[in-house]
Structures are given as C-alpha cells and as structure tokens.
C-alpha cells in the first residue's frame, strides 16, 4: 500500500483542537503516557475483535476480524515499543514513575459488549470508531513533526486504519444493504452516549473521591489513633484459630 493511502482529512473538531494536541504532545512524559494508553486501548480492541471473530457465523467476517485483531495487537506493540524506547532513552531517575503507568497490556474501558452485538451493529461500531481514530491519529501525526520516530508509528498505523475503515463499510453494506445508514447513525449516537456516560461517571467518581477524602481527614483521625494503638499490642507471628470461629456459614463477617 502506498504512503499516500495513509492520508486522511481530520474531522473539524480535531482540526480546531490541533493547538491543544500540539501542547499535549510537546511534553515527553505526557507523550509516553499517551502512547502507553494507546497501547492498552489497541490491545483491548484487538481482544474484542478476536472475540467477534470467534462469535460470528460469517466466514468472511471471521477472516477479516482476525486480520483486524492482529493489526490492533500489532499497533499496541508498536505504541508500547515506542514508549519503551523513549523511557529507556532517559536516565533511570528521570523516568516516569512506574506505578503511574498502565501495565504493559491491560484492561481499558470496554465500550463494546461484543457478545451482545450482531454483525451489522458490530461493523457499524467499528467503522465509526476507526474513522474517529483515523481523524485523531492524523492530527497527532501532524503535530509530531519534531519527533519523527513517533510520527512514523502513527503513519504506519494510519495505513491500517484506512483498510479498517474501508472494509467495515463495505461489509456493512453487504450484510445490511437496506439499513446500513441507520446502523451508522445509531453507532454514532451510541458512541456519543457512552462518552457522556464516561464523563458523568468520571465526574461522579471525582466528587465521591473529594467527599471521601474530606471524610478521611475530618472523621477518621480518632479511629485511626485507636487503630494504631491497637496495632502496637499485636504481637504478629502465629495467631490461634478459635474452634468456634467458623461455626456458621451464614455470617459475612
């Protein structure tokens, strides 16, 4: 496939947000974090596609999903390798604290309940997701002119994204010739709704964390003092198990 085929016009919103993306990608630590998160997302996406391949009864879709899954897993690896290269290029003390990084492959947000989807809804979701990713990755590639190695990773991935966008649309039209447009609109609205749910959930989580932190500092100190005092009396080592401790299986404590 020629490099020209990796060209894709970003969506208007992504174009407007280009200065923000430029600012985000300028910082090497943030760049590493972003690459690792992309790695996680792509790996998880690969897992979902693999599941879709194993569930579909359509042989052609099974083959395409498997190819797509392998691409996603390769993308995850490309992102991770690039992040690892950036991490190892700096002195150890200056690396991003390891605990703050996501694990090498992981369990990100699962937007998709693959088991619940039909072939047509799956294809519509994939097409919309791939198109959105291609738009965003195009912007990232463009703002990374100062980092050709990372830019190269996006360039490589964008070639696959074009294939993914094309085959998902072609197959959607094949499996759902009458209703493919409706499926695409439904997929867009579903993505929007899930984005809202994620934001709402994150906001609720943040409010909960603030309230619990206030509670922690206001209410807990006397109990903490008691707990610490009790712990000094604990000897450690063997603790006998009382024979009647487990008399009842009805208790939760």
């Amino acid at each position: 496939m020629s490099p020209a085929s990796s060209r894709h016009s970003p969506a208007r919103l992504d174009r407007i947000l280009t200065p923000v993306h430029r600012w985000i990608w300028r910082d090497p630590d943030r760049r590493v974090q972003k690459l690792l998160r992309f790695s996680e997302t792509e790996t998880d996406g690969g897992r979902d596609l693999l599941r879709a391949a194993e569930l579909t009864s359509d042989p052609l879709l099974r083959r395409l999903y498997l190819v797509h899954a392998t691409d996603e897993q390769r993308h995850g690896m490309l992102f991770r390798r690039r992040a690892a290269a950036m991490l190892s290029a700096r002195p150890p003390r200056e690396t991003v604290p390891l605990a703050e990084l996501p694990p090498p492959s992981g369990h990100g947000l699962d937007d998709l309940e693959v088991d619940q989807e039909t072939d047509s809804t799956m294809l519509a979701f994939l097409h919309v997701a791939e198109k959105s990713a291609a738009s965003r990755f195009t912007v990232y590639r463009d703002v990374l002119r100062s980092d050709p190695a990372t830019q190269g990773v996006f360039d490589d991935i964008l070639r696959d994204e074009m294939f993914h966008m094309n085959y998902t649309l072609t197959q959607l039209v094949r499996v759902s010739p009458e209703r493919h447009r409706r499926r695409l609109w439904k997929a867009r609205l579903t993505r929007l709704w899930k984005t809202y749910l994620r934001l709402a959930s994150a906001l609720a989580g943040a409010i909960g964390a603030v309230l619990l932190t206030i509670y922690y500092f206001v209410v807990l100190p006397p109990f903490a003092w008691l707990a610490k005092r009790a712990s000094t009396r604990e000897d450690g080592g063997w603790t006998p198990v009382s024979p009647d401790r487990n008399n009842s299986l009805r208790r939760q404590y």
Partner: protein, 588 residues
Amino acid sequence: MKILGISAHYHDAAAAMVVDGVPVCAVQEERLSRRKNDAAFPMAAIEWCLDHAGIEPDALDAVVFYERPMLKFERILTCALRAFPRSWRMFPKAMKNTLGEKVWVRGIISSHLGVPGRKVLFTEHHQSHAAAAFLTAPTRNAAILTTDGVGEWATLSVGHGQRRADGTSITLLREIRFPHSLGMLYSTFTAYLGFKVNEDEYKVMGLAGYGQPSMIDKVRKVIRRRPDGSFALDLDYFDFHTTAARSYSQRFIDLFGLPRSPYDPIDLTTTEGQRFADIAASVQRVLEDTLVEIARNLQRETGLPDLCVGGGVALNGVANARILAESGFERLFVPPAPGDAGCALGAALYADRIHFGNEDREVPDHPFWGPSVSGTELARVAAEDGQLVDELDEQTLIERTADDLMTGRIVGWMEGALEFGPRALGHRSILAAPHDAAMRDRINREIKYREKFRPFAPVVPIEAADRYFEMPSGGARLARFMSGVFPVRPEWREKLAAITHVDGTARVQALDRDMTPRLYSLLEEYGRRSGIPVLLNTSLNLAGEPIVNRTVEGYSTFLRCGIDVLVGDRTRVHKRGSLLTKRKEEVA
C-alpha cells in the same frame, strides 16, 4: 443436594457445582469472557454450570461464596486507619471499590440468581483453600497448609483434615495475618522485577533458575524468622499495606537497587539482567526455606504422612518439590486449581461435607470440569477457510499426530472437557517434540511470543517418569497436576533440551492413563517412534490470553500463530498457509 460455589472480585473468578457431594462441573470466568484473570462476578460461569448440570437456580440448596466480604472490608478499613495519614490517596479508592459492589455479595447473588438470601452462605477464604486441597485429594487424614497473598485477614494457615464414615472435619489450628504474607512478599518482588502482580509470579520462578541466591541476606532483612517458626515482614520495606500504587518502599529500592522497567527486556548477558535474576533466585530460596520450615514443624506436630497444600503460593512447583523432599511428609497433594478459582469448588465442598454434614464421597481425581470441544465444529470452520481437514478414527489420529510430532510439527491439541485451573494438563495443550532447544525457541518466537528465559514443561507417562526425571518418593503424585519441579536426569538433558530449564530441572506432568487416555496413547505412540515417550506440553493460548475453551477459540489461536496442526476431538486440521500472511485485500 445441589450446591453452587462462587469465587469472585479479586482475581480468578469461577463457579463450581457440587451435586450429591460430587463435583459435576467448574469453570473460570476468564475462559468464557476471554479476559485473562477476569475477576468480575462470574455470571457466565454460573450460567454455564447451571446449564451443564441441568439445574434451575431455585432448585439450588445453597450458593456458597468463597470468603466473608465484611471481614475483608474490616481488614481494608483497618489497614487504611493504621496507615493514616499516608493512606489518604488509597482510602477513597478502596472505599469506592469495596462499597461499590464487593461487600454486597449476598444481595448480588440473590438478585442475579433469584435465590433467597438465606440460601447464600459464606466460608472463610482459607477454609475454602483448605477444602479445595483436602476434600479433592485421595487421602483420608492429612495435614493442611494454605498460603497466598491474603484472604480476609489470614495469609497462611495450618491445620488438619479428617474424612471418616461419621463425618468430615477440617480444623485450622493457627494462622499468620496480614500484612505478614509470603504471597505479598513474592508479589512485591514480582512488581519490583517489572512483572504483573497476581499474574506473572511464575516468571520470577523461571527467572530464578538463571540466578544465584546471592542476596539472601538482603531478602532476610525484609522477611524475618520468628522464634515460633513463623515469619514477619519488615513493613518499612513495603508499601502494599498503605497504597495500591506501589508494593515496595523507597527503602526497598535503597536495599536492592533500581527496579526493572516493565517495558525493558531482561538481558541476562548484562550485569543488570543478572542482578534481577539473582534477586529472583534469592527471594525464591527464602520462600522455599520458609515453607519447608513451616511444613516440617507441621509434620512433627501432626505426625501425619500426607500434606494438602492450597492457595496461590502452591503454584510454586520448586517450593512444592522441596517441601516434599525436606519436610518429612511422604505425599504432597496440590489440587489442579490451588488459587482463588479453586476456592469456588472448595467452598461448595466445605458446605456439603461440613455445614450440611453430608456423607463423605470420593471426588474424581482429575481437573477436567469445564466445557467440551466439538470436532464437528472444528471441521466446519476450518473447511470454510479452505484448510486441510481430516476426520479420523482414534488409532489413525494418534498415529498421524505422532508422525506430525516426529517431523517437527507443532500440534494444538484439544479434547474433551476444559481443565479447571491454570495448567494445561492435556485437554487444551500445545504439543511438540522435546528434544531440541531450537523447538523451545521456535515456540517462544512464533507461538507464545514470550521471554526466552521461561521454560516449557514435559508430559510423560507416569510409569516412565522416573527414567527421565529424578522423582523422589511421592513425586509422581505431585507431578500429576504439574505441581512439582524435578531435576531432569543428567544423561537425558541433551535429548530433552526443549524442556530442560537452565538449572537442569523441569515442571513435569506425570500422566496417568486413566486420567487422559488419548494423550497417554499419543505418548506411547511417540515413544515407539522416537524412543522417548516425552512431549513438550504448554497451554493452548497466546500471550495475554486465557487458555482456549471452545473449538473456535482454538481454531483462531491456530490461525494466528505458528501451530502447524490442530486436533479437536477426532478432527485434524493441517494449516494451508496462514491467513495472516495473505495480503489484506485478498482476504477482503
């Protein structure tokens, strides 16, 4: 009596069904959801168990959860209070995490299954481990040792069990409590060495083979022996009890040096790589010494010849082999699922035998409790993709597969019901000739995509095990479920290079014909051709994925890696060019 056992919420969620005192099925949630180490409430596993057993939820006599959630919550809250104010970041996360779902287990089970709350029972975490180890073992009277990261409070328990005509008993005598934990010690080193906690501990064991235990003194600073034969962690070296973000403290780093980045490969030819291997060897040795000492004291105290070991630490085959060799116990029983997944079965059996006081029943001595594969389905999907498909009779299948293995082909092998537990014990395996180190490297490179330092396991007929491996008395039993690591006899190491670890050992599976007759026949047939009835046996999955369950999962694994031949029941598929090497447009 119909009892459903459930484990969930931390790692390895699972469900198991016991009917009239005998297990009828058990499966880990990850095998159905395809998310490795899936900890979610195991709804798919429960549904499959109910369906497989043909039982409606309202016909269940009890649903048993494998631990006491409120007691666990007490431990989490107490630890947060003791670490005040350092625990301020951890506290909101822990509370949201626990109060969000994990303490409401009775309500969750009731609402999901529609069973009344009075039918929902709770065992203690280490009781479940003890029951899973003792009640599934072919022994009537045994000492019990359970050890893992942490349950509610206990991290290690010792006791004994007895199965008599008039009733069964499991008595836990004493325990070591959180935060003093051998599992947490090992997991802390797992994190320090750049591996995933609760998942990659076996990599530390593999890496240990490449190192020298030259840092035992340092490890002994972080875990100290106590006069009563127990141990205590020096908590200044750890952070796991105060934060979820990191297991070890700055003082730990000052003692052992900088941790390994999970994103850097381990290069054992460098000083740094060797340092990591030495650290792994040191913590492994200290773990073994500690367990041997505890087991030896337990043997002296109980005077019993048999020991049942449960809990995640029981997956450490090197430590198990040393316990067998040095503790004074004659036989060691480790169940095929000693970790939390096995607790689902343990909890159900505990409720049946001890809570309800039902008569003791022999539990079938095998790990195959999961869903089955279908050769017909494999033939259909492979034919749709234009692969070469043969449906063969039993003898021809065995002979053709032995021929495949002789010619250096790698075989994906699926038969019957899925294994319960983390090991592939012959029903979902990748098999290969064990003679050449190049085969090990090929499987690592083309199939498992994993670190070079990790060894592969052999499978051998139980009668021939002692010829190739130095099996101590009781070793064959420990090797039944691949739970022990034993030396390969020096004269065979060269001819078994693909399964001989760098330290001359192997995690042997000694196969009993009654347990897996078809694989046993294959070993015999392969032995007739090669002169050595030993095969390399590794789990049928790719890196980061659970072991395959259904036929189609085996088939997709076959397509995505360098496996040459896939066998499912009596169907044999020979790969005709990889789908993944075709140009994408050709596929479309």
